[in-house]
């Protein structure tokens, strides 16, 4: 590498074709900043996407990129990572791409623990097909395909990831220019499949669906920014999350004056899957929305590592086909 690259160096000459005001712009900036901050090499970085608005992402990143087919990005990324484990691979997907048509592949890339980052842009709607309800849409979502409101129960992406066996689970907000790059850096540093759900505002088909916790003026009150080893406090430290032993559940309590002492507040342990489950499934707005690195429990090795470590020749070609052809009973026919 020569001079360190700036976020701009990670942009391409392609005209960005998302709707004006789309949350994807902010995410693109955050990713470009992340790569610049960590000194990434565009030639050793690959973005793999499926289909949907989010999946146009690779065209706008100055790195290797592969815009594949609907829902299958994790499978392409797995093959790529096996072919070249040295690459830094990012999967870009959305709620429809990753959790509907591609749910199976997301499940398997997570449980296998392939060393890559998965950014799931969740906007709770199908954007590119013009606004149908998605598998993360809340019950009652009115859309062209559900004019009287959707009736299916939505999937919680992070709960899905945890259930699938993911070892890194984080949440971020598209416009959170300060925290999102930090979360992405943590994902990048993780050896294994790092799952990041990014709340993304679809300005055209599902505008402001997350604004009750993403808007700047309500963020402090409605976001619980989790950090390993720190108490689970929010609302400028005036509220906290406590574990109620009798109900075996979390509860929100006031902290300090008129409330409970801080010592009663849970301290975030990112290695605890039970706590992760509780934090991920806290219903908003009764509870704050947990943001940041919720779960991080590295395995001894990622899938691509194990794959080659357990490969008897570590992927080297040590034998000859000419010899293999004779690994059978061979008989010789003499010239008559």
């Amino acid at each position: 590498m020569n001079a360190p690259l700036s976020p701009k160096d990670f942009a391409t000459d392609q005209e960005v074709r998302w709707c004006p005001g789309c949350g994807d712009y902010a995410i693109l900036k955050a990713v470009q900043k992340t790569l610049a901050d960590i000194g990434a090499d565009p030639d050793k970085t690959a973005f793999i996407s499926g289909i949907g608005c989010s999946s146009r992402f690779p065209y706008y990143m100055n790195a290797y990129g592969f815009h594949t087919i609907h829902g299958r990005a994790p499978a392409f990324a797995t093959g790529l990572k096996l072919a070249n484990p040295d690459l830094d691979v990012w999967v870009v997907t959305g709620d429809g791409d990753g959790l509907s048509i591609g749910g199976n592949h997301l499940l398997h890339v997570l449980r296998r623990n392939v060393d890559l980052q998965i950014m799931l842009f969740n906007n709770e709607i199908y954007g590119l097909t013009k606004g149908q309800y998605s598998p993360t849409s809340r019950v009652g979502t009115r859309s062209p395909s559900s004019p009287k409101g959707s009736v299916d129960t939505p999937v919680n992406p992070c709960a899905f990831a945890l259930g699938a066996g993911a070892r890194f689970i984080a949440r971020g907000v598209d416009t959170d220019a300060k925290n999102l790059p930090e979360t992405l850096k943590a994902a990048r540093a993780f050896k294994g499949a790092a799952f990041v759900e990014i709340f993304q505002n679809c300005i055209v088909y599902n505008k402001d669906v997350f604004s009750d916790f993403t808007e700047k003026k309500v963020a402090d009150e409605h976001q619980l920014r989790v950090e390993h080893g720190k108490p689970l406090l929010f609302a400028k430290g005036t509220k906290g999350v406590r574990f109620n032993h009798k109900s075996f559940a979390l509860e929100v309590v006031a902290v300090g004056d008129g409330g409970v002492p801080e010592s009663e507040i849970l301290v975030h342990d990112e290695t605890n899957p039970t706590l992760a489950q509780l934090l991920i499934t806290m219903p908003h707005p009764a509870f704050p929305m947990a943001i940041g690195v919720i779960y991080r429990a590295p395995a001894p090795a990622s899938f691509d590592q194990s794959f080659w470590e357990h490969h008897p020749t570590k992927g080297e070609r040590t034998g000859k086909v000419a010899d293999a052809l004779r690994r059978a009973s061979v008989w010789t026919k003499k010239a008559s």
Partner: protein, 631 residues
């Protein structure tokens, strides 16, 4: 006693029993001994879809057929001359295919009321007269086996399991085969289970001794099947699945690239996954994906990463992979797709053979997405077809379909071991030279052009895996500009790209061997055209017809898309074209479509390969009467 030299210098033996009787193992070991004796042979394992169907039932019958001879053997034989039936169900299922005078060896221990009931047999066939036209030898194989292995320490149940080796011992005597290689194999195979080893050896020797013993040798005939005339050289026995695995490994070696094989288990394609999983030292890695789609995608991802991505399945799985294959066409990445065809539609006949995925391979994608298609014609040919398919995939930067079928995958025959030094290395289009950093916009544009510059003859683009310095670029399923690779919805560009994709596949014809004639003249009253696994049976039928004085030729297709450039002219030289295939007429449609020739189809979709007689009959039926009169 004198040994019998079979009519036509070949004999067909069929072993049949419950799927748990070890019939396949018995058959393959007999094939091995036949190979070592220098006879030619072809085998046909015929097993049910159920792993262990209820014991004694007709639908649980597993069979293994071998045709062996001191002449060239091209098929596993139309009808068995010898049937070894381990139970009444096996006899019942196979009786209809036995010719008069066939020799039947029955395991009488299983001929009881209980087993008759299981096989839905009303009366003991030995007493009804229905076996009158056959030569029947009754042997209590089970009790003989139990007696032979009583000192092995095996349980009664495990002792019974040795009966396939008892039968093998007897059959080895009947054909005068050497037991030593089989014994050596048993010692290797069961080295970790000493009791089983002892039991199987004891059973093998007991069966042999039983057949040889004086009082029975008059009853059990001995056959003389000597060495067949074959070209000098080293031979081994090989199944299609083994040959295909070795061929893919060879392709990787010739290309100097690793092979990443991604697949999902499916009958009858899984043996390929199993064989490749045992070839790590040949630069092969296998990935069992979560489903068929993921397998195709992972293989394409591996190709994107610079390995040779290979995926494999059977018809239903190929259907699932189709969208991903279309992407490989669009992004111009190499990929080898192996289809071990089986009976369909839908789940169909998973263990039975068919050639009914030709439409799927040639036409079966959304939009205009042409793909080269090659078909292997026999087990050993799978090796060469795999190398050829990979060569085309890398040269033209395209997915390639390699069609085989359930018959070839599991069938075996002697195979002349090829000389690896005789193969040309497999070339690919390397990445272009990288410009200096800080390039001007003009240089940037030139770089894009270089990244997408296609070879003028093969239309193959450079293969640039992520990681290559200075060439970071984006690919995807959206239509791209033919020169810059940028997304383009331009009308003229899409026309140009579609034409380029068509020309690319058509250009393969300029690199492959021209169509040759297998037998007969380059013009005449009748030609029999085939493709894939029907090669052997057509060969025998045409050979027989020619011996009878009919002027018939044989042409066998290897590349189905594109067709060899000279095929049209060649076919024009014949008055009539007969096309036998194991489907409802797919290759016939293809030839009518591509060459506008008239074809007489001969279609068989019974799940069983053609018989020589069926094709011979069709040759006689379709032989132009004018030509007949002239004979």
């Amino acid at each position: 006693m004198t040994k019998i030299t079979p009519n036509g210098h070949s004999i067909v033996v069929r072993f049949a029993g419950d799927s748990g009787d070890g019939v396949q193992l018995l058959g393959s070991q007999f094939a091995e001994s036949t190979a070592l004796a220098g006879s030619d042979f072809a085998t046909f394992p015929d097993f049910p879809a159920e792993i262990r169907a209820p014991v004694g039932t007709t639908f649980g019958v597993s069979a293994f057929q071998i045709n062996l001879g001191s002449r060239r053997i091209a098929t596993a034989g139309d009808a068995p001359d010898v049937l070894v039936a381990f139970n009444p169900a096996a006899l019942k299922v196979n009786l209809p295919i036995l010719p008069k005078g066939a020799l039947i060896i029955l395991n009488t221990d299983e001929f009881n009321e209980r087993n008759f009931a299981k096989a839905n047999i009303k009366a003991d066939p030995r007493s009804t007269g229905e076996l009158a036209e056959f030569q029947v030898i009754e042997i209590p194989i089970k009790s003989q086996t139990l007696e032979a292995v009583k000192n092995s320490g095996l349980s009664r149940r495990d002792s019974e399991q040795c009966k396939n080796f008892w039968a093998l011992g007897a059959v080895l005597w009947m054909f005068g085969r050497d037991r030593a290689p089989i014994e050596a194999w048993i010692r290797r195979k069961f080295a970790k289970a000493p009791q089983v080893l002892t039991g199987n050896l004891a059973a093998l020797n007991a069966g042999h001794a039983f057949a040889e013993s004086a009082e029975l040798s008059a009853e059990i005939p001995q056959f003389e099947v000597g060495a067949a005339p074959m070209a000098a050289g080293d031979y081994r026995s090989i199944t299609g699945a083994e040959a295909l695995a070795l061929g893919l490994a060879a392709a990787g070696e010739l290309a100097g690239k690793p092979i990443l094989f991604a697949s999902y288990p499916i009958t009858p394609a899984s043996p390929l996954l199993h064989h490749l999983s045992k070839m790590p030292e040949l630069g092969v890695a296998t990935f069992q994906a979560e489903d068929e789609i993921a397998a195709a995608c992972a293989a394409i991802g591996a190709s994107y990463g610079g390995a040779i991505g290979v995926t494999s399945s059977s018809g239903p799985g190929i259907a699932l992979k189709t969208e991903a294959i279309g992407l490989a066409v669009a992004v111009e990445l190499p990929l080898v797709i192996v289809n071990s065809q089986r009976g369909g539609p839908s789940t169909g006949l998973p263990t039975k053979t068919e050639q009914s995925d030709l439409y799927q391979a040639v036409y079966g994608r959304n939009a205009d997405a042409p793909i080269p298609v090659i078909a292997a014609s026999d087990p050993g040919d799978c090796f060469h077809a795999a190398i050829e398919a990979t060569r085309v995939a890398l040269r033209h930067m395209t997915p390639v379909f390699l069609l085989t079928d359930g018959y070839i995958a599991n069938a075996a025959g002697p195979w002349a071991i090829p000389d690896m030094a005789a193969f040309e290395p497999i070339a690919h289009n390397p990445p272009p030279k990288v410009p200096e950093p800080g390039a001007t916009p003009d240089e940037q544009l030139a770089l894009k052009h270089a990244i997408w510059k296609r070879d003028s003859k093969s239309f193959g683009r450079p293969w640039i895996p992520p990681g290559v310095k200075g060439l970071a670029h984006r690919i995807g399923g959206l239509e791209k500009d033919i020169e810059t690779g940028d997304i383009s919805y331009d009308a003229k560009n899409h026309q140009a790209m579609s034409e380029m994709r068509a020309r690319k596949v058509a250009s393969v014809a300029g690199f492959i061997a021209p169509q040759s004639i297998e037998q007969g003249e380059s013009s005449g009253p009748l030609v029999v055209v085939g493709w894939g696994s029907t090669h052997g049976v057509i060969w025998r039928a045409v050979e027989a017809a020619r011996k009878q004085g009919l002027d018939v030729a044989q042409i066998h297709l290897r590349w189905l898309n594109p067709l060899p450039a000279n095929l049209g002219d060649l076919l024009a030289g014949y008055e009539r074209i007969l096309l036998p295939e194991m489907n409802m007429g797919q290759c016939a449609t293809l030839l009518r479509d591509k060459l506008e020739v008239d074809v007489v189809p001969l279609n068989k979709v019974s799940g069983q390969p053609f018989k020589i007689a069926e094709i011979l009959d069709a040759i006689r039926e379709n032989y132009p009467s004018a030509a007949q009169a002239a004979e």
